[in-house]
Structure formats: C-alpha cells, structure tokens
Amino acid sequence: MAAVEKVIGGHPGMYATFPRKGGAAPTATHYCPGCGHGILHKLIGEAMADLGIQDRCVVISPVGCAVFAYYYLDCGHMQAAHGRAPAIATGISRAENDSIVISYQGDGDLGSIGLNETIQAANRGEKLAVFFVNNSVYGMTGGQMAPTTLIGEVTATTPTGRDPQEQGYPIHICELLDTLKAPVFIERASLSDIEHIRKARRAVKKALEIQRDKKGYAFVELLSPCPTILRMDAKAIANFVNEQMEKEFPLKRFRDRSGEAGSINRAESDFSQEALDKAFGCESGVCVQFQDDPEFVAKGVKIAGFGGQGVLSMGLALAQASFGSGRYVSYYPDYGPEQRGGTSNCSVVISGQPIGSPVVDHPDVLVAFNRPSLEKFAPTVKKGGLILYDSQAGSFQAPDGVRAISVPATGIAEERGIPQAANTAMFGALMQAGNLGLPREAYGNAFKVTFAKKPKLIPKNLDILEAGAHAARVLEMSSKK
C-alpha cells in the first residue's frame, strides 16, 4: 500500500483531519498516489455535502483497500465482513427508513465473495447506493486475480496471464445487474483522468440523489487505477484503464428510471402492548391457573395414523381440553423421517404437576387410525392401558393386560357426510373410554376453541363427537358382558 500519502483532508464531505487514522500525516489518506479510491472518496464526499445529506448517510466500508473509508468521509460508518456489505446495508435501511446507505466495495469483495449478496440486494431493490471500484485486481492482499481481471492480465495468481480455459472470463457486473427488474439506476464510469472523473462525478451524485429521494437501488461501477499492484506510472495506468479495461467494460449508463420511480417508505414500528395483544388475539384470552395436584396420576396418550387423518389436530384438541381443565399439558408432534412417508404421530401428556418428557414412549392410551400404527405402537402400551383403533384397521388381538376397542370412527364420520372428521368420532370415543380424568364438557369446549374461526363446523362436530362416544359406550358394555 501507501508509499506516499495523498492529501485530501478538508475536502467537502470529508473530515478536516483524520484522527481515526492517526499517524504523522493527519490530512493524508493511506491510499497510494494515483489510486482511484482517493478520487472516489472525494466524489462521494462532495455529493453528500452538495445534497446536504451527511447526517442521514451511513457508509459501509468493505474488506479491501477501502476498509478505512471511515477515516475520511464525514458521516456515519459501519465496517463490513468481506462481501457482506449489501446485507448489512439491507439491515440498516430496513431498520431506519430515513437513512441513506452507501455500500463501497472492491471487485473481489463485490464480484467474488459477495456476489450473492450483491445480486440479491439489487433484486430486492433495496434503498442503497453501491459504489463498485473495479481495479481488475485484489489490491489489499497483494494483487491476486479478481473476477474482473482481464484476459491475459498477469496477477499474483495468474503469473502467465489470465487464461479463460483455466480461470474463465471477466465478470461484467453492470450487465448482470441490468437483467434484474428492481434496480433504478446502473452506470459504469471511469476514474482514469480528469475528463472521465467529471462524468463519474455526475453518476455518483445521481446515485445519491436517488437515495435522498428514497427511490431504491442505484449502482455505479468505477473503472479505477491501481498503479501500485499493476506497477505502472500515472500515464501508463491511465492508458491501461482507458484502453484495455474500457474495451472489456464499456462505459455506459445502463439504466436510469429515477424519473418514474416513486419513493419507498416503511411505516414506523408499533411497540404498543395493545397492538401486540390484538395481533396475537390474546386481549380476550383465557387466564388459566394451574393447580399442583399430586393426586392426579399423569397420563400419556399417543395418537398415530396416516397424514391427513387428523392425527395432529386430534392431539391438539386433547391438549386444549386438558388446558381448559387447568391441567398441566404438553403436546409434541413427532416430525421424524416418517413424516414424509405419510404416517404421523403425536404425544400428549396430561398431569397434575409440571411435565417431564413431552414424548410418550409408553402410552396409557394409544389411538391408532391405521394398521401400521396399531402394529407399531400396540406393544409399547402400558399394562392396564387402552387402545382405541379405527375399525377399518381390521381385527386385532390386544397384547396381554391391554384393552382394545375397535371404533367405527371413519364409518361414523362418513355416515354424517364429513369423512375427514373421523378424528372427531375418535375424540368422542376417547372422551367416553379414555379415563383421562378430564371432565366431559372439556372435550366439547376444546372444539369451540379449535373451530373458533369456523363456528359453522361446531354443531356437526359435536354431533360426531357424541356418536363416537356412544359407539365406544356400546362396545365397552358388550365387551364387559
């Protein structure tokens, strides 16, 4: 880097002296003489000062030679991880509607490690001005190949010149971004000499005007001399940029939609408790006190079946019934590998005390909607436990010491014209035979909560609930005889 320091202190939009930098030259930058970075700093500073926007500006400095942009530009600053500036910019811009965010990046930072962030922020049309310094090499790390290195260009990692067979071709970022709909402004300019700098100044200012007016994404690429790495004198480096770089990267205003673009404004956050209570629907929520009741013997219920049979919603309804009765309760849907295969199961624990594991390995009650679930979980049921299974699963011999009831749940639901309500019939059977220690009305009340948004469905479901209970009662009585 810097052999001789270049003086820019006191320029419009820049600090008068550079205390963050320290050292012996308080008004000189750390950039090499003839470096494009120093020129671009001046252009950005001037434009910020001209537009009177310094208070609103946050410059994000990249990983690269411009990492210390915050030594110089008189505005707010954040320093970024390599390539992540557009994501950081998104965070600032979304959080602070009035901020003006400037992402300052080199070609390695923007076009290589941070290309995804670059494209995605552009595609979202973030309110953001990106200034992209294309000097065809990695400056700070000692002149390795950049994504914009020219064919044949010698760098620290292409000692015989960039070979497209091995290293591909230079990436054209403006052209890439020009395929996206959201950007408002895209231009490629150059910092090679006075004449080019004049044009570049207009592009920089335009990008910041768009930010002042909150119109969206503006991108300015600047072909930029790096005399140190390319080992050229002032004249040779200007020629290199004007002739070789410009041939590969033609200067052009790709897009200017600032005329049509409206301003983007995001509403102020609402932190009030009323708004939150309303959003979560808990202004009218129930207040349940859980009473410790060591006498109440904890119950574990496992419900299993095919996806679509209402296994999980039955589990939630049971949890709701327990919750409504002031019992401690947990519900846990098993989302293991079987989920994709079409079967699902869930665990409900009901207790008079705080609950340990929410996963039921040995259920007091198993509810099985299909044969595979029945066969898989029946052997896990506790001695003295109960199995309720859909009659459609076929005949089944319960394990020793376990009661099993075949409930025509699907049949009941089909008879009443809602085949998908087999789980409601099963819920009725559970209410009747489950012996879970919950009051009967808790089951019906659970439906009123679950169907709060579809009240029309409640009467029909209560009917099916009772039919399920009735079926279970009849079957229980016949099995006792």
Partner: protein, 347 residues
C-alpha cells in the same frame, strides 16, 4: 394475563415482539422454520421489519446492520445455518453489537437430520467463530421459557452489547404447551452514544471490529474479557430440583433436563437420593454452584444429547471429578430408563 397453547417456535416470536424486537432476518431450515413463518406473519402486523434473506450469512449480516443502527434484532436457525452464521457472529461480538440468535439445534454433523440434538453446545458456548469472544447462552426448557428467555436475551444483549444465543432443540421448537403472555411490552429507544442510525446525533459514530495497531487490538481483547468476567459474575442462572440432600446430581439443560427430572423422581421412588441441576444460562456456566455440590461429595451425571460437550465444563467446575454421561444422538431423545439405570450404577 392471557394464556394460549402454542408451540415453542411461536413463543420465541411472542417473546421477541413484547421485548421490542424491531427486525427479523431469516432463512428457512427445519426445525427452526416456524420461527421464520411466525415472524413473517406477526412482524408486519405491528410494522416491525421482516426479510427472508438469501442465506444465513446474509441474514446475520442484516442483523449486524440493523443492530448497528441500534435496533433490537432477532435471527433464528439450526445447525447448518448456525455454522454459516459464525462469521457474522464473530464480527458482531468484535464490534460489540447486541442481538438475539435462536438455535433450534438438530442432529449433525454435516447435514445430519432434522431430529433434535444438543450438539451445538460447543459452537454456542465457546465462541464458534474465530477470535476470543463469547456469546451469552440461555437454554430454555419449556415453551414458557422459549418466550421469557428470548425477552431476557434482549435485555442482556443490550446490557452488555453482546450477542445472545438461545440454545434450544427441535423438541422445544415444536412442542405445544400453555404460554402465559408477557404482562407488558417494552418500548426500545436507540442509544445515540454508539449506534449508527443515519441521524445527526449518531453521525460521528463508527461500528467496526478492525484495529491494525497490535497494542490497541490487545486492549480491545482485554476489554472484551473484562466484560465476559462481569457476565460470569452477574448472569449465572440455574435451577435445582430435589438437590437439598442429593448424593447423585444430574446436570442437564433444555429438553433433556425434563427427562432427567422424571428420572430424579423415579430414582427417589427407588430410594436413591438423586437431584437435578439445570443450568438456565450455559454461558456463563454455573461453576461455583457445581463446585459447592462437588465439595459436598455429590456424584455427577451429565444428561445431554451430545458427546459430553457440557460434561467437559462440569468436569472443570467440579475439579476434574469423574462425571458420568447419558447421551443419545441422531435425533433420538434420551430415555428416562437409561438415565435411571445410570443413576443406579453411579449411586
């Protein structure tokens, strides 16, 4: 106050919004995706800001930006996504920015699977990215704590200007329990002494983690370490269950601690004086309280769904006593019986 039956992932969003969290940045990953879904649903309802980022790296850097602007910001992910976030987290720690990151841990290594594990303990508690830094790490064990510790996380994050990780797992994320809603809503204000918010009063501020001068960088490290010492002194949090006369102590956090609690009851029934020590904060680790139990002559068993990552810390805290381990991997939960038989073996 109102209660509702909700799942742990949604409880995080409730806790965050009542804590004044202003922005959420996320990327889908099971089993944390519901946090993203609920954020996309509830943040806009109160004009808070939500972005589905292009990657976890982008998401954590959006966090950096919004947190740097002084806002309360939340991110959530799981193993593979947490690994990607480590770059951003070390920058956040280095630049001393506050934020809360929820890790709904899943089975690893690599892509692993979407079942629960507690194998991100080291990554969360020991830094995780490059350089000397620590996250504050809180470990909820119920849906209620998913909400409450998220809220507490924001308070700690701002008290210390430090990233906070809520270390949970797939079971806690998906299980449904009653949640009592927060009694009040926090209204945040931006601290103009350090934030960079694109405003006149914050124009002179700078958020950075680079310092070229070796001595200055060393001073910054000392400053961070002094902060971690204050955190170690002030923020230890743990809960004991039947510890008073315990001779065998299970140490367990998160979902495993609930299984351990059931095992304690079962052991007591079998006449063994077992107890549970549940760290609520994992960093800072409750070193002194564990040492006191060790001095009393207690025997220790670590119950965790990892290869003894927490056991190392228990060993250090208890003066390198042997510490038993009950663990499962791959998405399997620890069975209560296996904890019980380990208690019997150790007692």
């Amino acid at each position: 106050m109102a209660s509702q039956l909700i799942d742990g992932n949604k409880a995080v969003i409730v806790g965050a919004l009542y804590a004044g969290c202003d922005c959420f940045f996320g990327y889908p990953i099971t089993p944390a995706s519901e946090i993203l879904h609920e954020a996309s649903r509830y943040f806009p309802k109160v004009n808070r800001k939500f972005v589905q980022a292009e990657s976890e790296e982008a998401a954590i850097n959006m966090v950096y930006g919004a947190a740097g602007a002084g806002h309360r910001v939340l991110a959530a992910s799981s193993g593979p996504g947490m690994s990607l976030k480590q770059e951003g987290i070390t920058y956040i720690a280095g630049a001393e920015l506050p934020c809360v990151i929820v890790d709904i841990c899943r089975a690893g290594p690599g892509l692993g699977n979407i079942g629960p594990e507690q194998s991100d303990y080291n990554q969360a508690c020991k830094g995780g990215g490059h350089g000397c830094y620590h996250n504050i790490v809180l470990a909820p064990a119920s849906v209620q704590e998913m909400c409450d510790l998220t809220r507490k996380g924001f308070d700690l994050a701002f008290k210390y200007r430090n990233p906070v990780v809520i270390l949970a797992d797939g079971v806690l994320g998906h299980m449904v329990e009653p949640l009592e809603y927060p009694k009040d809503a926090f209204v945040p204000v931006i601290d103009p002494t350090w934030a960079v918010a694109g405003s006149a009063e914050t124009r002179g501020n700078l958020i950075t983690s680079i310092e070229l001068n070796f001595d200055e960088m060393e001073r910054h490290n000392y400053k961070l370490q002094e902060k971690y010492e204050r955190i170690r002194k002030n923020e230890v949090a743990w809960e004991g269950y039947r510890l008073e006369d315990a001779s065998v102590v299970l140490v367990s956090y998160g979902i495993s601690s609930r299984i351990a609690r059931s095992a304690v009851d079962a052991a007591r029934k079998a006449g063994i004086k077992a107890g549970l020590f549940r760290p609520i904060a994992l960093f800072p680790f409750p070193v002194n309280a564990l040492r006191a139990l060790a001095e009393r002559g207690c025997k220790f068993i670590s119950v965790e769904m990892s290869d003894g990552q927490m056991r190392e810390d228990i060993r250090l805290a208890t003066g390198c006593k042997p510490v038993g381990l009950v663990s499962r991997y791959g998405g399997n939960l620890i069975g209560m019986e296996s904890v019980l038989s380990k208690i019997k073996e150790v007692a």
